[in-house]
Amino acid sequence: MSSMRAEPNLTPILDMVFQLITFFMLVINFRATDFNKEVSLPVVGASAPADEELQGDMLVLNITNDGTVIARGKPQLSLKNFLVNELKGFEITSKKGEEPASVTVVVRADRDLTFRVLNNVMDTCKSVGFSQFVFVVMRKAKQPGPQ
């Protein structure tokens, strides 16, 4: 008596898995450590001007509503020392002749942060040598209907 072997066809499931892998590979964000989820970003108006493409290196600073600056995934108690070290790092990795001012400080500050604290952080950045800033905000969803 002959026994029949049941062989499932794995090709469709393999196709599907590869589709999923492709999707996740495309949407994966390895810079997630730069984005702190404790920070509630400010919400501004809907119709946004086109965002400019950021050129050069970026340094992301998350500022919580109590003024704690979180960068590279951890709170920076001495912001100035941290910035000095970061700037040195950018100068080492930057191409010869490139100005360190091309480093953009990306500020992700909490919506309830006072301007006093924000200004202190900006002044510290400025004193170290950073001169270009980008502020991250959330946009409201566009309302349907006539404006």
Binding site: L14, I21, P42, G45, F115, F133, V137
Partner: protein
């Protein structure tokens, strides 16, 4: 002797079918899939407002009546905007040059500010200097900055030169 395939047909070439074992590949694919699923963190769509650093340059008042709401510096016309804040961090009132803009609520104040600023920008100013009360909440500041960034200059470009300086208490 020719071998028969699964359907009972004779294999013309007479050699064995090569069957790729996809189970191993599937194992690896599942490993990869598990990795990507576990490390996946959907991030919200964020927008950016680029800004140049506050300058230490002194701003002087314009003498002209026509552009009384603007200040003049060497490189052109600068619109001075002052945001006064309440201790709670809300906007108390806004000033564009000498012109005071106030409203009972922020929801009414910001559209009034937008309209007033649009009129002034049409006079040819391409730079805005915002003096900010130190207690102002960051969200309110960004709302004002956003309104500035949406202004269209007579040249058709967006107003992009915005600087922020603290408003020192007298």
């Amino acid at each position: 002797m020719r071998r028969k395939d699964r359907r009972g047909h004779k294999n013309k070439r007479g050699h064995d079918d090569v069957e790729l074992n996809v189970a191993a590949m599937l194992d690896m694919a599942f490993q990869l899939l598990a990795f990507f699923i576990l490390t996946f963190t959907p991030s919200p769509i964020e927008s950016q407002i680029m800004m140049r650093l506050p300058t230490d340059k002194a701003v002087t008042q314009a003498p002209s009546n026509q552009i009384s709401a603007t200040d003049v510096v060497d490189e052109g016309l600068v619109v001075p905007i002052t945001i006064y804040s309440t201790p709670e961090g809300e906007i108390e009132k806004l000033e564009i040059g000498q012109r005071v803009i106030s409203a009972p609520t922020v929801e009414e104040l910001l559209p009034a500010f937008r309209t007033a600023l649009a009129d002034i920008v049409q006079l040819g100013s391409d730079t805005v200097s915002i003096r900010v009360g130190e207690d102002l909440r960051y969200e309110r500041l960004m709302q004002v900055v956003d309104i500035c960034g949406k202004q269209e200059l007579p040249t058709g470009e967006r107003l992009s030169k915005v600087s922020i300086v603290p408003l020192k208490a007298n």
